[in-house]
Symmetry: C2
Subunit: 396 residues, 2 copies
């Protein structure tokens, strides 16, 4: 086990703490670019409350709204231009993963003279890896991506049909303000997608761990078990604030590096495939994940059943005949798929009206962006183009 | 659930990484006070390797050796004087929890003109809470206290017979260099104490959690299960580097704030009692913990069995009749005590030759240093002096 880990983001967690935003922001700057998505934060009053708190603390607000799902590099460019024109010294992201991801690249882009697409990994060494950025405060309004406490950002370029990521320490938010009250108004389907998203973040590390990692496995299983248990409560009663709080914290922990520290992750194959598919079809990220993940699990379980047997035993209390009991492993995956169906997530491309016409293209494009030097997608096991197509067909 | 959390310590983990110490230290300073304990790091060559790595990177070394177990404020004062005389701009701690704790207060004390005991909480508001310190690099040679990645330090004053703590963000090490090879030479008894120490750190948060914390509970259980499983491996074969690595990372996670974030911990009653006892008797910290903890658990389980039932079910796979099944709760505690005995830790004061003569004194002294304003020791439930004496008698 060999790893380096640092997570310098300060977490402020609690119902009602949006009211503290201004006081928390003031030490970092006096003129904030407030990045938001569509209109939901305006309709439900969150935007107004955020602005009021900032203003009351003496922080001026410059608005940057309209960041779309699967955020596009054009929105990032626009945000950078606004921040520069208006002399912002601080960025506040108020929204879901798309808003936070765009805000990260905006915060770094303000201090870079070139084009922000230079920061996004897309198949060759990046022209620019940011080492500094404006201070960023992330205020998630959705429990899902965990972007509030990590240093990753996923951005799309519609022109080249590439959806890819930046990931470097300068992109950590200075502060993540987690107020589970803000998630009370999230509709049932988006809530379910958030739960599925966070679980997939954990399974990617868990199943693609290159080392024996008993401690990380237990932590990962703890997040998954909690997400399923508290997720069912939230979906039964969206006003259950205690369960909302657990789901929000689970979403943060799923991708802040704590659970996966030391697991020697060799890739996020399900995410890489989803990024390609959603660069071609503007689908909800989590829907792409819930379709691809079970099919990928069936593929990987056949190559190395032991981890999937452990998953079946510890998550679904199944009894395996041994660590190579593929039937038990597949039964666990089926239970997992049934959970996704139960909470209303799709598990087949056909449910989204996506047919198999472009499967070869998705495989080729994914491998163009990321491969192990031998033409395979990193993961356990690594996948050839033909294997990718098989997995996509299994999910069709 | 309401909490703030920040842990800015960078972790560098891996067998053999002591060789990287110099390169890692160089950005922080060029003249290091190297704090160590007794002679073991010199006898086994660790000291020499650390110095060589530092020197090779251009970092000069000023030695500060002889920090004792249960580190005394006198050693801290001596370290501060040396650092000032020698113009050190960096502190490197190479040793166990005592060495790291002393090094933290030294690093802060160098930038404070008053007496370092002003930083240690002992029953009234502290005269000084450090807001800054020299950069500190912690290199644990023992998996136990988790001091390498937290902001706490426990220091004793033999004159006043007070053993108490400082805990504030300025005391976080900049970097924790975790090289499990360094723990290969730790004797069996010290290894067992480390395992018991880390488990106690987790149980204190787990059983004194004021909120419903399903996620934190799962993480805590994951650390305990791993510590027991890998601990048995290490004690069976001290050269099992993979298991040593798991124990070392578990010790760090047990007290770095990740597992307990949000559990609303209302106290560390077992630690508070142990601090008093070991201020009177210079016993190994973990031995005091393994004696007091099961007795405290029996006391607390009677007041609120549910959490102890969960512990019995999830750690020892017992089947409870319901969440108020005290018999099951007590059976779980008995299994836990049996584990402590199995690994060679004492569970009765009599095993250390400590009789009941001073039990009232321990209770009074503990409550003098920390109480809830109503004369009780914070915890779930809070303990009166009479209840403390009962618990100590149960452990006698």
């Amino acid at each position: 086990m060999k790893f380096d880990v640092l997570n310098p983001t300060r977490v402020v967690f609690g119902a009602g703490r949006l009211a503290d935003l201004g006081a928390l922001a003031k030490p970092y700057g006096s003129r904030a670019l407030l990045v938001t998505g569509g209109g939901s934060v305006k309709r439900n009053g969150t935007f107004e409350r955020a602005v009021a708190s900032l203003n009351q603390a003496g922080v001026e607000v410059v608005e940057c709204s309209g960041v779309e799902p699967n955020p596009k590099i054009g929105s990032v460019r626009k945000g950078i231009a606004t921040a520069l024109d208006e002399g912002c010294d601080l960025v506040v992201a108020l929204g879901g993963g798309s808003v936070m991801d765009a805000a990260k690249v905006i915060a770094a882009g303000v201090l870079y003279e070139g084009d922000p697409w230079d920061m996004i990994f897309h198949g060759q060494p990046n022209p620019y890896i940011p080492f500094t950025a404006l201070p960023l405060i992330a205020v998630p309004t959705l429990a899902a991506t965990g972007s509030e406490m990590n240093c990753g950002a996923v951005i799309s370029d519609p022109e080249s049909q590439v959806k890819s990521f930046a990931s470097t320490e300068a992109l950590y938010p200075k502060l993540a303000l987690l107020d589970p009250e803000l998630t009370l108004s999230v509709p049932r389907d988006q809530t379910a997608y958030g739960i599925a998203d966070l679980i997939t973040h954990v399974t990617e590390g868990y199943f693609n761990s290159s080392a024996e990692t008993p401690l990380q496995d237990r932590l990962a299983e703890g997040v998954i078990l909690t997400a399923m248990q508290e997720g069912r409560k939230v979906l039964a009663d969206g006003s259950d604030l205690a369960a909302r709080a657990q789901i929000q914290w689970a979403a943060t922990l799923a991708l802040n590096g704590w659970v996966s520290s030391g697991n020697g992750g060799v890739g996020f194959p399900v995410h890489m495939l989803e990024h390609t598919v959603s660069a071609y079809h503007d689908i909800t990220h989590a829907a792409g994940l819930t379709i691809i993940n079970p099919a990928w699990m069936r593929f990987a379980a056949k190559a190395r059943p032991a981890k999937f047997v452990q998953f079946a035993e510890r998550i679904f209390a199944l009894q395996a005949k041994g660590s190579d009991d593929l039937d038990c492993a597949l039964e666990g995956i089926q239970r997992f798929e049934a959970f996704l169906t139960e909470i209303g997530c799709p598990t087949r491309f056909s449910q989204l009206g996506i047919d198999d016409q472009l499967f070869e293209t998705y495989a080729r494009e994914t491998l163009r962006i990321v491969n192990d030097g031998q033409g395979r997608l990193p993961g356990l096991p690594p996948m050839s183009a033909a294997q990718i197509v098989d997995v996509l067909r299994d999910a069709s």
